[in-house]
Amino acid sequence: MLDQSTELQSSPAQNADVLVDVKDVSRSYGNIRAVKNLSFSIRKGEVLGFLGPNGAGKTTTMQIISGNLAADEGSVTIAGHDLLQQPKAAKAALGYLPEQPPLYRELTVNEYLDYCAALNRIARKQRKEARERAKESTGLLDVGGRLIANLSKGFQQRVALAQAIIHSPPVIILDEPTIGLDPIQIRETRGLIRELGKDHGVILSTHILPEVQASCDRVQIINNGSLVLNETIDGLAKHMRSLSLTVAFRRPPAPAQLEQLPGVTAVQSDGNQHLQVLHHPGSDPTEEIVRLATQHDWGLYEIQPLGVSLEELFVELTSEKSQT
């Protein structure tokens, strides 16, 4: 079910596009192994959703990739530069929005962004342009002259986001970017992430599942420091394929009548008007049921495939692993 190997073994031809390559990274805090032999990669034009329950190692991984934390073992390569051997070149290709926005509250938005532009070695002449571009894409144009301390949490979050993209780095790491935003801002931010995903590689760490479905191309679920799922959004649909139907009739037939249909493995009745129909993958009996229902006048008024939601998949993967 969890086919990681195809994703992890990238052929040399694909390597040209690989922006972040994480190899066998481990990290311990004292006796606690926060991240164990983690390996994955991100290509250009890809938004990677990084999911996991609290304490699974998401933030630790983000910190390792962003150079805030050194890995005990393993290597991180960003845009072809090893993070330990050539830290400056690697970090120049990187924009990082940490979990807590790194803001100097005594500066105005413009001053702060200018400082960030300078830190990222943007030439003096281009700083203003870079700053305005970052402000525009994060919706900060109206607050440029205001003190960061006086901004609301949502605006502060956006300033931090602007900081991460000001030098338009190839790799953007976002640790829970939509925290504290209102629903409209969340939609805008997701739109921005999608936009960024077109020519950058984006890693998005979050525990908000719809966010992943809305803005990511690929999903990784981490639990207890190890990857338990690494799958494209399309591939994810396979995991979430429906294998059962809920059918409701005014005048329900005997379950045995439905069990005879091809592909159906079992039918359970809830004693009321609802029937639960389980079927084989690949043979969906919906059409057949509808046909029979009109033929025998069962009074069909509801038929619904029961999909596995990302949430259920998430719970299944993270709880099954933590038991072993």
Partner: protein, 246 residues
Amino acid sequence: MIFTIAWRELKGLFLSPLAWAILAVVQVILAFLFLSHIEGYLLLQPQLAALRHAPGVTELVVGRLFASAAIVLLLVTPLLTMRLISEERRSRTLSLLFSAPLSMTEIILGKYLGIMVFLTVLLFLIALMPLSLLMVTSLDGGMVASGLVGLALLLAAFVAVGLFISTLTQYPGVAAISTFGVLLLFWLLDWSGKEDNLLAYLSLLNHYEPFLRGVFDSANAVYYLLFVVAFLVLSVRRLDADRLGG
């Protein structure tokens, strides 16, 4: 890149009332001490006139002013350096520097330079006091200059200690009190009794006094430079270890 960080540090200082308060307080206290030294000199003047090799006004007033300035600044420097790294660690802004294309050395030197520029301003204001005497008398220019160089080197050492201690903690208060303690200890080391033991040699005070007498001994200057370099290297190492530790 170092200048970018230094500039922000300096700007941050002047955006908070702390820098202004420090400038004002130091100036008021030193002005008062300066006046009392002048008064003392005026009282002594008749007796000095009778001596053959009497110490001049530069040594009696300016030298004593710089000696007092050292004590006052020993109290003040920890307040300036306490926030350097600890505040950034506390408000999680350190990750901004860590994920930017900067080396740890650049971060440390930038921070160090920022505070040193501020202290140069302070030093300039202090220097104005003895220079005002030029209106009424002549001064031994070499002795004033050597005193200023000595004070600058001493401050450079103070800041290096403060910066290092600020990298150790995330509580500015802890950094301030520890820096103060360490500086005072280095100051008092020569009280350990015998004149020529190692502890006395390490004392910050022993290397400062010759400057006030107008003696520029390169060994003393080198002592301060080594002191600064040692603590800056320790700071860089400590910041680097931040990524290794948990």
